[in-house]
């Protein structure tokens, strides 16, 4: 029965992905602009080179032909050539994907753990000072523009306290003779971007956790659990949190899309060599194939995240029908 549900969700996701592919393609086609910016604005370029570049990227073909070629290539895992880099999009994207995954992953884990903890404490101690502090903290971080927060953190931690480097992922070009040193370097570079992104996320997670938990705490089964003689800790852990986690799972998945937006800002501020910045560069350079590739990748990961959330949900919440 569950299998059927999973199957259905997978199929639904596939349909969405298909629509995304089409939408994705045409969205970028109706974007004005020309991929030849780089060449065009260089006085040393020759007319032939410009012509040839156009041809190389199939820009001479009618749009529907371009679309079918695109679809055909896509099926073979070929996302085309990046206009700017003149290398396959897959390679360009691949070289930038890990930094983003690591940063986003760490930030997600950190903010989920802290956010949930804060939400739980805040709900449980509703109305107390602890709650007020946690709530204000959540609401404030929720209201701060990501990039501004990043800049301020740099000002405080890098410039003021000189604790962490301002930017990059590793000290550039440095040769590391042992892994510990490298990890140290990596960690110190990771700290600020992860902190920024986490701060932005923690607020939302904490608020949601607090609210759902408050809802759950009013449910009758909480009274039952209390009547059974359990202490608060146990009730929260065993009865309240598992129920309150359900909306969190959906939120975490939905947040994936928003986090990508956050990474664009964070990667720009911290010069983090990830996908967000690549996407922004591609946008400014009108690198359609690259943009399409990244957008597709991001969208598919969001869809997959939602799919995983749905499936996890169906396993955590026995009420989900087959």
């Amino acid at each position: 029965m569950k299998k059927q549900y999973v199957f259905k969700k997978v199929l639904q996701s596939l349909v969405t992905i298909f629509f995304v592919i089409i939408f994705n393609y045409f969205l970028f086609r109706i974007m004005p602009g020309n991929p030849l910016a780089m060449i065009m604005r260089n006085p040393r370029a020759s007319a032939e080179a410009i012509e040839r570049t156009k041809e190389l990227f199939g820009l001479g073909q009618p749009w529907y032909m371009q679309f079918f070629i695109y679809l055909g290539n896509l099926i073979q895992g070929d996302l085309g050539l990046s206009f700017i880099h003149k290398t396959p999009v897959v390679e360009v994207v691949w070289s930038r994907i890990m930094p983003t995954i690591i940063m986003v992953g760490l930030a997600q884990i950190l903010s989920i753990v802290v956010g949930i903890l804060m939400g739980v404490i805040s709900a449980w101690k509703r109305g107390t000072k602890v709650d007020v502090i946690a709530l204000s903290f959540s609401l404030i971080t929720y209201s701060v523009p990501t990039f501004w927060l990043g800049i301020i953190l740099i000002a405080v931690f890098s410039i003021g306290l000189r604790l962490f480097p301002t930017s990059g992922m590793l000290t550039p070009g440095k040769t590391f003779y042992d892994t510990l040193n490298m990890l140290k370097d990596y960690a110190s570079h990771l700290f600020l971007p992860v902190l920024t992104l986490s701060l932005v996320l923690i607020g939302e997670y904490a608020l949601t956790m607090r609210n759902t938990l408050l809802d759950v705490l009013t449910e009758d089964y909480m009274t039952t659990a209390k009547a059974k003689g359990f202490d608060d800790n146990y009730i929260i852990k065993k009865h309240a949190i598992p129920n309150a986690m359900l909306p969190m799972i959906t939120l975490i998945a939905i947040n994936m899309g928003l986090i990508i937006g956050g990474t664009i800002q964070i990667e720009t501020i911290f010069s983090w060599p990830g996908l967000g910045r690549l996407m922004y560069e591609a946008l400014n350079g009108r690198d359609y194939p690259l943009l399409q590739g990244i957008f597709l990748l991001i969208t598919i990961s969001v869809i997959l995240a939602n799919l995983i959330a749905d499936i996890t949900y169906s396993y955590l919440d026995p009420r989900v029908k087959s």
Binding site: M38, R41, A47, I84, L161, L163, G168, K184, T268, P273
Partner: protein
């Protein structure tokens, strides 16, 4: 102990990533800079920007000035140990001539044939005398590498491990992070003083400015004026405003054709003149660029030998009254009193003024221009777009006016070419056409005597200045900073010029580390302690909760 192990690494902050490691593909300024370090041309320029022997130790020109003979050095080796010979030169030139690819192919215009009578001699035949032969900075590529590349793939072959003869060897390119080069110990002009040369990519200049203060990088360019001010007060850092070859212009759509999508009123030179007269270039320069640069006049920047300075009565300095006067005389009168002048048909002088959103300086300049043009009764409606979209508009001729800039070469040909009729639909971004100008353009390419050539080039600039398809706004400077506490031997080229990005690799070869500087690693240990502390607190917290739960 680390002193001996750690190489002397120079980190240079840049804000644009190299677009490709293949000279056939790249069109970027950073690409030009890097290829200059990885490869060598036959002839390069010295710190006076004069031609100087490089791979060619000397050269001769025959009497009718159409055949050049270059004698090559015989002690040059490629980075992979292969010897460098004339075959490499022939191969490179043939490849570029046959394919017309990359930013260097433009230098080879007029060459008919390249031959190698022996291993260390190259003969280049040209159609007619070629004035810019010695300004040809085209890198020589290794035949033994490139011969295996299918000519059909030249446009996409990434040249991931460039092999050159240059002062630096390629080490690694981390997309989105940095490009690392290492010193070529066997460089025929002597090993550079820098061990590792790392171009570090920044996504914004703000953190880049912080980084150089913190010692994370040793040099950088492209700062904003206010950052320059704060960098100049920093000890151990030399921040400069460098004159570079290039300018920022306001370009009109000067396409004099009924099919033009531009506002036809722009074809009236009086209108273009009036707009220029209404622009207070100096005050824009002062406010937007903190005065870093100089007010612009003609197409070729003043540092170049070929720069033409308009005479006093030609000059259109800021003068609102005059702008109003010439418009009045030409019959543009504000009849309906809305502050905007109209032509005799009642069409108002109202234009779309396109600006590049990501260039804040241009946006600000544009806003100031729009403000003062209004005082001359001309309405400029600002629209901000990104580069790609602007290119699109330029390409389709669907624009009135915009601001952008050009970087130029020592030789005037490339930039003069932009205004020729044949470039409409290609490089031309004003759709300007003038027969006399086109004629002179061909002529100047063949005049070997610089003084004679200067006259022709001056006339060309005079035509442009008079007809004003461009308003050259400023020769804006490049704001650069270097760390003088860690490195010595910095030299500005030319005197008012910069350390980098100015067509010579002098500084890369001659800068030396200050011997006793220890590599600065800002607080990476502290960072670890902080992280450890956070983890510890978390663990203690969890542990406590456990205990309570029991």
């Amino acid at each position: 102990g680390s002193q001996t192990e750690e190489p002397d690494a120079m980190r240079i902050g840049v804000t644009v990533e190299i677009d490709s490691l293949s000279p056939l593909i790249s069109y970027s300024q950073i690409g030009y800079e890097v290829f200059m370090l990885l490869y060598d041309p036959l002839i390069s320029v010295d710190d006076n920007l004069e031609p100087v022997a490089n791979l060619a130790k000397d050269w001769t020109l025959n009497d009718d000035q159409t055949e050049w003979t270059f004698n090559l050095r015989d002690d040059v080796k490629w980075h992979d140990g292969e010897p460098f010979t004339s075959a490499d030169v022939v191969f490179t030139y043939d490849m570029l001539l046959g394919n017309d690819l990359g930013m260097y192919s433009g230098y080879l215009g007029g060459i008919i044939e390249v031959t190698a009578p022996d291993d260390y001699t190259v003969i280049v035949k040209t159609e007619s005398p070629k004035a810019n032969m010695l300004q040809n900075s085209c890198p020589i590529l290794p035949e033994h590498i490139w011969k295996d590349v299918n000519p059909d793939d030249y446009m996409t072959w990434p040249n991931e491990q460039p092999i050159g003869t240059g002062a630096f060897k390629f080490s690694e390119l981390k997309q989105g992070e940095y490009l690392k080069l290492v010193a070529n110990d066997d460089y025929f002009l002597g090993r550079p003083g820098i061990d590792d040369l790392i171009f570090v990519l920044y996504a914004n200049t703000d953190t880049m400015a912080q980084s150089i203060k913190l010692g994370e990088i040793d040099a950088a360019t492209n700062f904003s004026p206010s950052q320059l001010d704060s960098l100049q007060t920093e000890a151990g850092i030399e921040a400069i405003s460098a004159v570079v070859l290039g300018f920022t212009e306001l370009s009109f759509n000067a396409w004099d054709d009924p099919s033009s999508k531009a506002n036809p009123l722009l074809n009236d030179i009086v209108v273009r003149h009036a707009i220029e007269l209404s622009i207070d270039k100096q005050s824009i320069l002062d406010i937007v660029y903190s005065g870093q640069g100089s007010v612009g006049t003609s197409l070729i920047p003043p540092e170049g030998f070929y720069h033409y300075e308009p005479s006093a009565d030609e000059l259109r300095d800021f003068n609102i009254d005059k702008a109003n006067q010439i418009l009045e005389e030409a019959g543009y009168i504000d009849l309906d009193g809305d502050g905007i002048r109209q032509d005799s048909d009642g069409t108002p002088l109202e234009f779309i003024f396109t600006l590049r959103a990501d260039n804040t300086d241009e946006v600000k300049a544009g806003q100031m221009i729009a403000g003062s043009a209004a005082e001359a009764g001309i309405k400029l409606n600002i629209e901000t777009v990104d580069d790609g979209l602007l290119i699109d508009k330029i390409y389709s001729g669907d624009f009135d006016m915009f601001i952008w800039g050009w970087g130029t070469d020592l030789d005037p040909t490339t930039i003069l070419n932009v205004m020729t009729t044949s470039q409409i639909g290609n490089m031309s971004d004003s759709n300007y056409s003038n027969e006399r100008y086109d004629q002179l353009f061909i002529e100047q390419q063949t005049i070997m005597d610089p003084v004679e050539r200067q006259k022709v080039v001056w006339e060309m600039q005079q035509i442009l200045y008079e007809e004003a398809p461009y308003i050259i706004l400023f020769y804006d400077n490049s704001l650069q900073a270097v760390n003088t506490a860690k490195w010595t031997g910095w030299k500005r080229i030319p005197e008012e010029g910069g350390y980098f990005f100015n067509l010579t690799n002098y500084n890369y070869l001659n800068v030396q580390p200050v011997s006793d500087t220890a590599p600065a690693e800002p607080g990476s240990n502290t960072a670890l302690y902080v992280i450890a502390a956070v983890v510890a607190v978390a663990v203690v917290f969890m542990f406590n909760r456990r205990k309570k739960a029991k």
